[in-house]
Symmetry: C2
DNA sequence: TTTAAAATATTCCAAATTGGAATAAGAATC
DNA sequence: GATTCTTATTCCAATTTGGAATATTTTAAA
């Protein structure tokens, strides 16, 4: 999953909250998602152009009196489907948790999607399998540097798994509160 | 520290073991460093060209009978100094440990550099400070998602610190063995 | 009050990066 | 013998990158 695809989906996620123009999207990322995501103005416009070509957004120019005209982008049905598929798919690697998985979690919460617990469970499954593979490899290697390397991978994966279990616990509490 | 600078320094590190041509450098990365580093053939040649412009390597064409000519690259004194500065500098973020710090550790061991323990100590200091900042911020936030976010950062940083301490222990043993 | 800086909103721009393919011939495999 | 792989480097075109440019209004600073 390349950064480009994730970035498109993040913009789709923001547009799930309502139509926005490029400058506004940039403001949203810079203020509400800045702790785990960064997109330059150029990137946003380049992404939006390609996204419109791909039919996941449509734009409408809006004239205003004392300011440059805005190009308001709205998400299409195709865009919604694509976003929902993305947001409910676990990331493949620990290294993708810090940005991509956190973005998914952000949108799950922000949009009150019911896929939250499922996403976390699926993510736990993916990382447990990764950990199993790592521990397996660890037993087979003899080179000292490789031992260090896989030890690092194992420790990061274990920490991520523990964190995910915490997420699951606090998310379950949120769901209960929702019912009450 | 951008990927480009790290990649240049990794190539310098390989050239510390002796002169090599581009194709050979690619082979080295693909076989001996492939678990934590990946460089395409294009990237290698683009990097080498820039590095020669910057005076950290020099090249000499070597004709061979049944094969295309090779361009053998050697590291300059300037290149050595740059490499040694890089290899003894801790990385700034946890996210840089998985590639850049591991590369530094790889070269420290491969080249029997005496900077190993110092590097690990310095890296521990950097990450402890990071952890302090994270824990500090954690106490100040009220937003639930941010709590989750910083909890993740803290857990990854803690795991990396624990791993570094293990590295330090096993590296100290290596040093003792060296004396004996 | 005047001047300077920031905001609004999008496009422009040129250098760098990317992910192969191309090149030509020998060596290895089927 | 035919096919595929290896050797070694350059070529290539699309994409990405990191701002600047644009023109005007609004806001902040002097």
């Amino acid at each position: 999953m390349s950064f480009k695809v994730s970035a498109e989906n993040a913009l789709l996620g923001i547009l799930m909250t309502g139509p926005k123009h490029g400058y506004d999207l940039h403001g949203y990322v810079s203020t509400k998602m800045n702790q785990f995501w960064d997109l330059s103005m150029s990137q946003i416009y380049a992404l939006l152009k390609r996204m419109e070509r791909n039919g996941v957004v449509v734009s409408q120019e809006e004239w205003q009196e004392n300011r440059p005209a805005k190009n308001i982008f709205s998400i299409t049905q195709k865009g919604k489907e694509r976003f929902l598929r993305w947001v409910s798919t676990p990331v493949e690697h620990v290294r993708d948790v810090r940005i991509e998985f956190l973005a998914k979690l952000f949108f799950v919460r922000k949009l009150h999607l019911k896929e939250g617990l499922t996403l976390i469970d699926k993510q736990i499954d993916v990382l447990q399998e990764k950990l199993r593979v790592i521990e397996n490899l660890k037993e087979k290697i003899t080179d000292e540097f490789e031992t260090v390397l896989y030890s690092f991978k194992a420790s990061q994966t274990t920490a991520a798994l523990n964190w995910l279990r915490e997420c699951k616990a606090s998310f379950s509490q949120d769901q209960k509160k929702g019912i009450g």
